[in-house]
């Protein structure tokens, strides 16, 4: 166990966990882990899904009790019974899945449970004033009176952070706070994080974006399989070393392209879209997708990435434009109709539009196929199990117990279940919207390699991601979107991230509408 001495020479840690151990039945979720947080530092907690990050956070924030080990705050041993207990001691957490109330206003969400009362009554105006102060500190121009649900996920995320900040926070846990933010918003968030750091807040930062981890962290703690790998300074640790420590083995595949750039794209596209327009945010998009091709889609949040995907797959109706498959014109009135033509879509919102949480892994995998067959032609139970088991095996879904509710799986495995559901339809075209969002590096590489394998076997894939590196790695060509239009479509073999960024960001650097 290598542990560096703390560099800054601050004498006492704000938070110190020693020998932290948590058991679930016979499984050791956390095994003798140590964590130290100093005031005014950003500390990244790294590890694959299942490494014990969530368990550690839960133990720190009072959502879970340690079976062994100690938690010391400011030199005093603590045992938090509830998250509320932890909050009173200045420890707050913002989770990846936003736990706020969409029907209530922004102000109510920020102040909820801590409203100022006079004579037992809440003053909405005072609440909105207080919320406005917090929001302006965050540099967010949001009407505190507006319902939270009316804002994009990115804004909701920042509101969740505003809520945490509005308590007298000393330790702020940010669990994947950037997974739904675009680069401007990330910059904004980082400004806020640095500001909090100035104020002496200790920040525990969890993200699967290595760039961000390296940009913001003062120190990095790595966990693997519930155990501590070590605590490092980002300056001492190369990225590839960090990945190896997280994965526990050399990871050459992290660097290579999953498959060679296809020699030549066939002349006649399999799926062709001309002037695809939907009122939900895509305008006059031309799309050509050849058999066995991966078409990456790059663009900022709101550039029309998701709108394009939904327009291609029958989820949103087309206002204008045509689609054709193999030269024959098609019209998709519903996702169901698109699936009949073996065009399938997986949503970026895994929890709300993807998995059916309470149903088993098995039911989730067979759902789309069963829906296609209709109510009466039930897939025989034995066949269902065979089918689900073979996909679970092929995609390495863990745990392999098919009868577990899918919500108990990790994000990466839920994503694989989503893929399995679509693959069970034997699709010809897969449209994957952020298939690697919020999942760890290992699972991400698996999903990327899977996409490459599928394409090699003749499947056509539209691959949408906010991460340009990933888009370039997986795709044969990249369609760049800006302001709800396709700006250009380029061969990705010759592309660099910077070149795509330039296209994505600024209208001046490219000739438009040629």
């Amino acid at each position: 166990m290598t542990r560096n001495n703390h560099p800054m020479g601050q004498p006492t840690p704000l938070v110190e966990m020693e020998h932290a151990t948590v058991r679930f039945g016979t499984t050791l979720a956390l095994d003798d882990v140590a964590l130290r947080l100093y005031p005014g530092e950003v500390h990244s907690l790294m590890g694959e899904n299942g490494a014990g990050k969530s368990t550690l956070i839960k133990a720190l924030t009072g959502a879970l009790r340690l079976d062994a080990g100690t938690l010391t705050i400011d030199g005093t041993a603590m045992r938090f019974a509830t998250p509320y207990d932890a909050q009173r001691h200045g420890i707050s957490a913002v989770y990846q899945e936003i736990n706020l109330l969409p029907n209530l206003s922004v102000a109510e969400n920020i102040r909820l449970g801590r409203e100022h009362r006079s004579h037992g009554l809440i003053s909405p105006r005072r609440m909105e004033r207080e919320a406005a102060v917090v929001l302006s500190e965050l540099g967010l121009s949001v009407d505190p009176h507006s319902p939270l649900g009316s804002h994009p996920v990115a804004v909701q995320q920042l509101v969740a952070i505003a809520r945490a900040i509005s308590t007298d926070v000393r330790v702020l846990v940010l669990d994947e706070p950037t997974s739904s933010l675009d680069s401007d918003e990330v910059a904004e968030l980082f400004r806020v994080i640095r500001d909090l750091k100035e104020r002496g807040v200790a920040i525990l930062f969890i993200s699967h974006f290595l760039d961000q981890v390296y940009e913001i962290s003062d120190r990095i703690t790595v966990l693997r399989d519930g155990a501590l790998v070590g605590e490092y300074l980002p300056t001492d640790l190369l990225r590839i070393e960090l990945m190896q420590k997280m994965l526990g083995h050399d990871a050459p595949e992290l660097l290579s392209r999953p498959r060679p750039a296809s020699a030549a794209v066939p002349a006649e596209p399999y799926l062709k879209g001309r002037g695809v327009t939907s009122s939900l945010g895509i305008c006059d998009a031309d799309v050509d997708l050849a058999e066995g091709e991966v078409l990456g889609v790059a663009g900022l949040l709101g550039s029309g990435r998701t709108a394009l995907a939904r327009a291609l797959t029958g989820i949103d109706a087309l206002d204008r434009g045509e689609l054709s498959i193999d030269g024959r014109p098609v019209r998709f009135a519903s996702p169901r109709a698109a699936m009949k033509h073996r065009v399938a879509y997986s949503s970026e919102n895994r929890r709300t539009e993807g998995i059916v949480g309470d149903l088993s892994v098995l039911d989730n995998i067979t759902l789309a196929l069963q829906a296609q067959r209709g109510v009466f032609r039930k897939i025989p139970p034995a066949r269902q199990r065979e089918l689900a088991a073979s996909w679970a095996e092929a995609l390495r879904i863990r745990p392999s117990d098919l009868d577990r509710p899918v919500r108990t799986l990790s994000g990466g495995n839920q994503q694989k279940v989503m893929l399995a559901r679509l693959l069970a339809l034997s699709p010809r075209v897969l449209v994957l919207d952020e298939p690697t969002r919020g999942i760890d590096v290992g699972a991400k590489v698996e999903v990327q390699n899977l996409v490459a394998d599928l394409a090699t076997n003749g499947l056509s894939v539209v691959f949408i991601s906010a991460e340009l590196e990933e888009v370039l790695r997986v795709s044969d060509r990249v369609a760049v979107l800006r302001d709800e239009r396709v700006v250009d479509t380029l061969e990705s073999a010759t592309l660099t991230v910077d070149a795509v960024l330039a296209l994505v960001a600024s209208p001046e650097t490219t000739e438009e509408g040629e």
């Binding site: 679930f24 979720a29 299942g50 368990t55 526990g248 709300t352 993807g354 759902l367």
Partner: protein, 350 residues
């Protein structure tokens, strides 16, 4: 042993057993079953017979609740169905004729189906909140039943029709066979076709289901139609029992008892996973409790309070939170709670 306790029906079934035991201890004759003219009689047999209307209504309610909905109109549909059937029999030349009764039943069920379809239309096509959509018919339905009976309590004499509620088939009541048949039909349709799984999917996550290509509109519609038809059958049994079309009291408050039975049976009002067997047990709990009140001779003025107290007790006994609380008070340390995602052995990509 723990497998039995963990079974979702363990607590509802225990509640039912306790309820029956208490009755037997209070009065041994509760469990007595006698044979007369080749028919079984006794308090337990009465429960099986009398639970028929609630059972049918609760069965439909289970399906509707599974879609995240609720059907408040079932009592009113019962009233309409009974009014239609009895009015037809009353107006016919031959009130005891087999043909007359068949027509009465068929028309009543057809009307119920239309009413259920109306509910389904409001909810699945127009997207009206289920509680409001079915409230419309809850209020209007009784009005319609009053119009059909011209505001009077139509009494009819038709010996064969009376057999539906009071008669025996071989040794057990006809009404019992009717609800058993309904349970079997619904159970088979839900589990032997994909309807059950798709209904749960729609109830748990409607948008994800739509994106997966599920025809959620049709599935929700089907649930309300089934609820309507089953309420219609309940209405026929009820009117056969009273032989009077009473638009005001037929199925009065039965929607609430049905919801209670569904919840007692372990189906969540949040929709999704449902249990037909659970609902059957839930209905038997409610019906046994009704009988208990009679059997223990609880004064009518006290019976609603008694009923409520027992229901609170049964609900508490089933509550997972109370179980946790009980465990922490009575010693045993933290039991292995459901392992979260971090607890799973993660296989590192080789």
């Amino acid at each position: 042993m723990t497998a039995i306790i963990k079974h979702r029906l363990f607590w509802p079934a225990s509640a039912l057993v306790v309820l029956i035991t208490v009755n037997m201890l209070a009065n041994a004759s509760f469990a007595r079953i006698t044979v007369r003219d080749g028919h079984l009689y006794g308090a337990l047999i009465d429960i099986l017979r009398q639970s028929a209307p609630l059972m049918l209504v609760a069965l439909g309610m289970t399906l509707v609740i599974a879609t995240r909905g609720i059907d408040l109109s079932v009592g009113a549909i019962m009233a309409v169905s009974g009014a239609v059937a009895l009015t037809i029999i009353d107006g016919s030349e031959d009130p005891g004729g087999f043909g007359t009764i068949m027509i009465a039943i068929l028309v009543a069920l057809l009307v119920s189906l239309v009413l259920g379809a109306w509910n389904g239309f409001l909810v699945s096509v127009l997207g009206i909140q289920p509680i409001i959509a079915t409230l419309v018919l809850m209020l209007a339905g009784r009005g319609t039943a009053l119009l059909i009976t011209s505001g009077e309590i139509t009494t009819v004499v038709s010996a064969p029709f009376k057999q539906i509620a009071s008669g025996y088939l071989v040794i057990l009541p006809v009404a019992f066979f009717i609800w058993v048949a309904a349970v079997v039909v619904v159970g088979v349709v839900e589990r032997r076709t994909a309807l059950g799984m798709l209904t749960e999917a729609v109830g748990i996550n409607p948008e994800a289901s739509r994106l997966a290509g599920v025809r959620s509109r049709g599935i929700i519609w089907t649930a309300y139609i089934a609820s309507g038809v089953l309420a219609g059958v309940a209405g026929i049994i009820y009117s056969s029992n009273t032989m009077a079309a009473d638009a005001n009291s037929a199925g009065y408050l039965i929607e609430l008892y049905a919801i209670l039975a569904v919840v007692l049976g372990g189906t969540s009002l949040m929709g999704g996973k449902f249990s037909i067997a659970g609902t059957v047990i839930g209905v038997l709990i409610v019906q046994t409790l009704e009988s208990t009140i009679l059997f223990l001779g609880v004064a009518p003025a006290k019976s609603p309070v008694f009923f409520a107290l027992v229901v609170i007790f049964v609900v508490l006994v089933q509550s997972p939170r109370v179980h946790r609380w009980g465990r922490s008070v009575f010693g045993s340390s933290r039991t292995s709670s459901a392992p979260d995602e971090d607890a799973e052995k993660k296989e590192v990509a080789a």
